[in-house]
Point group: C2
Chain length 100, copies 2
């Protein structure tokens, strides 16, 4: 289920950043309702992880009630990067929503 | 797997708040290394969700490498509450780590 194969099949990805909250909710909702996607993955890093969970919950519970959207899978991980000569880690999350 | 039954079996729960980051990492690590728990659940709400993911990742990758700890399950949800006469929703997360 979590192989890189299954991940590469997911076309619809919404990356969470610091734009207005509803932009991301709308992006997720449109993928299901207008683009006809059966799966949408919401991705975020660092402090935006909390926001990714909010986007998933608000999309699913408030705007996609009739679409029967479920949480298929949630992955967490870390990425290492160099900043000012120091190695820093940043956590990430990927929440995959699926049409039941 | 996600029934309320299996959840009630999890004794070790670490709630993430605004104490120093390493307090939470230590709490998780001690559950596995000293208390001999086979499962620890990290819970957080709202803005502390990002922190919960950081605690899970740092505990697992930096301090529990030899313990073979895996992410067993991640649940997200929402709670409704009343604040100043208005209904507000807050998201939550529960990350369950397990000894392989």
């Amino acid at each position: 289920m979590n192989s890189s194969n299954s991940e590469s099949k997911t076309d619809a990805i919404v990356f969470i950043g610091d734009k207005p909250f509803m932009n991301y909710v709308t992006a997720v909702v449109v993928q299901f309702t207008e683009k006809g996607e059966s799966e949408v993955t919401i991705k975020a890093r660092g402090k935006f992880i909390s926001r990714a969970v909010d986007v998933a919950e608000v999309s699913r519970r408030r705007f996609l009630e009739k679409e029967n959207i479920d949480v298929k899978d949630i992955q967490i991980g870390s990425e290492e990067f160099q900043r000012e000569g120091k190695t820093t880690n940043i956590s990430n999350i990927a929440i995959t929503l699926v049409r039941k």
